[in-house]
């Protein structure tokens, strides 16, 4: 295998994992746009959604039927969490919000362990085995599948936000909650909707990554860090940025693991740290974000 095809092979694998990061980053960005907070529990919510899917499949449901049910459950769960956990502290200082989501992180993680135990579970691979050979570069069907699913999710979100009236209302709330409220929009309901959407998008990432990482309560911890890096790189208020950032982070991670000897497979988790630091020091608003102008 020539050096070029090997490089391409790594890039393809990077894009595959990057698509998963992109989808979790998308969930983070959605919540950040609506409520201005970074949800540290996003990965854990995705993890517990994945457990729901696993439970459904284990009780005999087919995967493609279990998926919509899981997404619906996640949507409802996200709305409930917004109403019960987040709404009471919505106007509280940033530190309070961070701590509440960290508390949610610990709680959800432990609940998954309590219900499903900490033993690793096999998650069914929804896509067929095998793949195709493109000029010496092997692309698995699962890689195609992951990219396709993330692309579909993106497309649906785009249509929802740009071409439906509910999307218009949601954009109004994200842009200026006070004005939105004054023009008769029920801001609270829209925020619940936003959290529900984010939980759904996050659930997609969990279901996609579970066959690779195996299902266990701490599955999403690492993915969350990559998603943070992706969202930071793309800009925390830009959905497009989250996807581009996710793909970049995925490729950078794979390449660094394969070609930089010092990093290797075990220190790959240092890559998102470096990316986050570099972006924040050089261009804090991210590639696609708008710089916040602050008036003291």
């Amino acid at each position: 295998m020539s050096a070029v095809t090997e490089l391409l092979q790594q890039v393809v694998e990077g894009v595959g994992s990057g698509a998963v990061y992109a989808s979790l980053a998308l969930a983070l960005v959605l919540i950040h746009r609506f409520t201005g907070i970074v949800n540290f529990a996003q990965g854990e919510l995705a993890m517990i959604s994945t457990y729901v899917a696993w439970q459904l499949v284990a009780s005999g449901m087919s995967f493609w039927l279990a998926l919509p049910v899981t997404l619906a459950v996640s949507f409802a769960g996200g709305m409930l969490i917004e109403r019960i956990v987040i709404r009471p502290v919505q106007n509280a200082p940033e530190l309070t919000m961070v701590i509440v989501t960290v508390g949610l992180f610990i709680f959800v993680n432990a609940m998954a362990g309590l219900i499903w135990s900490f033993t690793v579970k096999d998650f069914p691979q929804p896509f067929p085995d095998g793949g195709i050979d493109l000029a010496g570069v092997r692309v698995d069907w699962s890689t195609f599948g992951i990219i396709a699913v993330v692309a579909v999710v993106m497309g649906l979100l785009y249509v929802l936000f740009q071409h439906t009236s509910i999307g218009l209302v949601m954009r109004a709330v994200a842009c200026n909650p006070a004005s939105a409220r004054l023009s008769g929009i029920r801001v609270g309901r829209v925020l619940m909707l936003g959290w529900g959407l984010a939980a759904t998008v996050g659930a997609v990432s969990g279901v996609l990554v579970a066959p690779v990482l195996f299902l266990e309560p701490n599955m999403m911890g690492g993915v969350l860090i990559y998603a943070f890096a992706a969202a930071t790189l793309g800009g925390f208020d830009s959905p497009v940025g989250a996807v581009v950032g996710g793909l970049c982070v995925g490729v950078a991670e794979t390449l660094a693991g394969a070609y930089v000897d010092v990093i290797g497979a075990d220190l790959k988790v240092g890559v998102p740290l470096v990316i986050i630091l570099a972006v924040l020091l050089v261009r804090p608003q991210g590639l696609f974000g708008r710089a916040a102008v602050e008036r003291a």
């Binding site: 907070i37 970074v38 540290f40 956990v85 009471p88 502290v89 106007n91 509280a92 200082p93 940033e94 530190l95 309070t96 961070v98 701590i99 509440v100 960290v102 508390g103 949610l104 992180f105 610990i106 709680f107 959800v108 993680n109 432990a110 609940m111 998954a112 362990g113 309590l114 900490f118 911890g221 690492g222 860090i225 943070f228 890096a229 930071t232 290797g264 075990d266 220190l267 988790v269 240092g270 998102p272 740290l273 986050i276 630091l277 924040l280 020091l281 804090p284 003291a296």
Partner: protein
């Protein structure tokens, strides 16, 4: 005239009460290792050493208003400094303390520089990813750190003259370190540095206008807080005699923050209560199930943020405050009213609009005086 004697009286009474409390506390802390079984003494020792780390975190989060989800990393740095010194150079335990302290201070200083540009959420992100990154790094540096097997080093041994058992001697050494550390934290807060820190937390722009150098004090806050975490980690090595990368996963960082929040942000006793919480809740809850500590921690953190943002330490104060204000209200209603002696009107509900200038974890104000 009568008011003067009254204040004198209350002042004297307060001093007396304070002295009695201090005496009682001293008797209990010194007597504890002779009363309890070795395992319980060990637990108390762990509470004391966690309190040092939490006091450091408190400087940063409670008083500085910056969020760190990575203090376990500084704790680990201190622990490994001590372990490597003991393992390779056989320096003796006491020599490791200043090295760990200074090393972590410098590490914190280095970390504080990016922290300047990172507000709130972003600092939490960076510190969290640092905490996630550290265990694999420790495993990689195998020649020095012993890799994933970790390092086993000597624990503290009581000198012959003391006539104490190992657990008792360890307890007293850790007690001394903790006492000095907590005293240092308290005095630090009452110094120029501490006042600057509070000013920055409450309103950055106003603090800057008053001549507080933001960059200097934010970085220093990070460095000081790292120093405390490092000292705590160093003492951890003395007590446990074993370090491994898996003892310092990012769960430790999150647990530390959780303990501090539950104990009480920006309170002087908060770290002690929080440390007890970090030590005892998992050991009690673990009997129920492996996941129970997490469930309890998670629920408590959220509940504390909802109902008692000042934590356990603040809760006592608030209950007393409520009782006192109710009592004074009834007495002033019964007796003659003098203008001004009236208890302040019930607090008007806070402006529902988001308050930007509000310090993080606003309620800590009650603890500041």
């Amino acid at each position: 005239m009568s008011t003067i004697t009254a204040t004198l009286d209350t002042d004297r009474a307060r001093r007396l009460r304070l002295a009695l409390t201090a005496l009682l506390a001293a008797v209990v802390t010194v007597g504890a290792p002779f009363y309890f079984a070795p395992f319980q003494v060990f637990q108390l020792t762990m509470v004391l050493l966690y309190a040092v780390a939490l006091a450091g975190l408190n400087l940063l989060v409670g008083f500085g208003g910056q969020i760190s989800l990575g203090h376990g990393a500084f704790f680990a740095a201190g622990a490994y400094t001590a372990a490597v010194m003991l393992d390779r150079y056989d320096t003796g335990h006491l020599a490791t303390l200043p090295v760990a302290a200074v090393g972590c201070f410098l590490l914190g200083l280095g970390f504080g520089v990016p922290a300047l540009r990172l507000r709130g959420l972003y600092l939490a992100l960076v510190t969290l990813s640092f905490a996630v990154f550290l265990p694999p790094l420790l495993k990689r540096l195998e020649p020095v750190t012993g890799g994933s097997m970790g390092l086993t080093v000597d624990k503290l041994q009581p000198p012959a003259w003391s006539g104490l058992a190992e657990d008792q001697w360890t307890y007293f050494v850790v007690l001394a370190v903790t006492a000095v550390a907590l005293l240092l934290a308290r005095n630090l807060l009452r110094s120029r540095v501490g006042r600057a820190l509070l000013a920055v937390r409450d309103n950055e722009s106003a603090a800057e206008v008053m001549g507080v150098r933001l960059s200097l004090h934010k970085t220093l806050a990070f460095a000081w807080s790292a120093l405390f975490a490092g000292v705590s980690g160093c003492v951890y090595t003395w007590v446990i005699g074993f370090v491994s990368p898996d003892s310092f996963s990012f769960v430790l960082s999150i647990t530390l923050l959780a303990g501090l929040v539950v104990g009480g942000l920006a309170s002087l006793y908060g770290p002690l209560l929080g440390a007890a919480f970090v030590m005892y809740v998992p050991s009690v809850a673990q009997d129920i199930s492996e996941a129970a500590p997490g469930v309890v921690f998670g629920l408590l953190i959220i509940a504390v943020m909802f109902v008692a943002p000042t934590g356990l330490a603040g809760l006592a104060g608030r209950v007393r405050g409520a009782a006192v204000s109710r009592l004074t209200r009834t007495t002033s209603a019964a007796g003659d009213r003098t203008p001004g002696s009236e208890p302040s009107a019930p607090p008007t509900p806070a402006d529902p609009a988001p308050v930007d200038a509000e310090p993080v974890g606003a309620p800590p104000r009650t603890e500041k005086e």
